[in-house]
């Protein structure tokens, strides 16, 4: 019970702050709750199937296969797979984090993990559809043409900014986290 309470401290605080805002400014407080409720509903809509796919991927795709296609020597193929998996996803950025954990554990190259995360953010197909309908194709296509090389470049840049020890530690921590979970 105490453990649960401690884990949810942040959520509880955020809830209490939002509630107290109602007392000071009814309009902003109520709006906050309405928007939070919308975000909650959207998240619950996409999270279960995403987590299910994640569990299945973890069980069925062996580490060896994953390393071959997305590991340190995967080259261009690894990049293509990272963008593909990221683009086929749905849901906000934070839904991608549990995925990165599995990818880390399966020995995927770090630059490919960053590429995957950024692809999840920008080249995701549901996002593109929304963007297309809301902002038109000139805006969407221009952004995509800049973003595609951009996310690849950023993946390598982030990997390059980190030392080998730091990257090794990320993989080690991912291993530990899985054991605790």
């Amino acid at each position: 019970m105490k453990r649960i309470l401690r884990r949810y401290t942040f959520a509880l605080c955020a809830f209490l702050i939002t509630t107290s805002v109602i007392l000071f400014n009814r309009e902003i407080g109520v709006r906050s709750f309405v928007i939070a409720g919308g975000a909650f509903k959207q998240m619950l809509g996409v999270l279960p199937p995403i987590m299910l796919l994640l569990g299945l991927m973890d069980e069925w795709i062996p580490r060896k296969t994953m390393m071959k296609y997305m590991g340190n020597d995967s080259g261009l193929m690894g990049i293509v797979f990272a963008i593909l998996i990221g683009s086929l996803a749905a849901g906000p950025m934070y839904a991608a984090f549990p995925f990165t954990l599995v990818l880390l554990r399966k020995g995927v190259k770090f630059s490919n993990i960053v590429i995957f995360m950024n692809a999840w953010c920008v080249t995701k197909i549901p996002t593109l559809v929304f963007e297309l309908t809301a902002l038109g194709y000139a805006f969407t296509v221009t952004r995509l043409l800049i973003n595609l090389p951009g996310i690849i470049l950023m993946g390598y840049l982030v990997e390059w900014l980190l030392s080998k020890d730091e990257i090794d530690k990320i993989y080690l921590d991912a291993e530990k986290m899985e054991q605790r979970a």
Partner: protein, 161 residues
């Protein structure tokens, strides 16, 4: 889109179950654990999203990032986008509204880019998975990139306006 997601997850689950019940059970428990793992932070994050969006209404934003706001407008839009988190179905209609109410293309492009790529609110959660330093670099590089991308988009689309 959700239908496709649920459909493919369900079909794969059934295939998995028919091939190996044990593995499927493990996959299900892993799915539940990752779900439960992300819940505490997620619940906190949505309240923060609600608060920031309630305070920063589109009208407030568009008054600051108008077409003549220049590089400061782009910078401001990037910062707002980095701090706020919007679900995509809110983000793009908002961007459209901003354009129609007088915001410039580079400014809106910067907003959309950082909205999707950079997450200050989710930073702590991200750091839990890939470490503080890597999470910082990913967000920081993405922030700079959004800025550059915004300027290019502004140049490409600005001419037709």
């Amino acid at each position: 889109m959700e239908l496709i997601l649920y459909g493919s997850a369900l079909v794969l689950l059934l295939i998995s179950y028919s091939k190996d019940k044990e593995k499927t059970k493990k996959a299900l428990s892993k799915a539940w654990k990752s779900f439960e793992n992300i819940m505490p932070q997620f619940l906190g994050i949505i309240f923060i999203i609600g608060l920031t969006l309630a305070i920063l209404k589109p009208e407030v934003i568009s008054s600051i990032i108008g077409e003549s706001s220049g590089i400061f407008g782009v910078l401001f839009a990037s910062v707002v986008g980095a701090i706020t988190m919007m679900p995509t179905f809110v983000a793009f209609p908002t961007a459209d509204m901003l354009l129609k109410s007088g915001a410039g293309y580079p400014q809106v492009a910067a907003l959309v880019s950082t909205l999707t790529l950079v997450g200050v609110v989710t930073f702590a959660l991200e750091a839990k998975y890939i470490g503080k330093k890597a999470a910082f670099y990913r967000n920081f590089v993405a922030f700079l990139f959004s800025f550059i991308a915004a300027v290019i988009i502004g140049n490409v689309l600005g001419g037709g306006r």
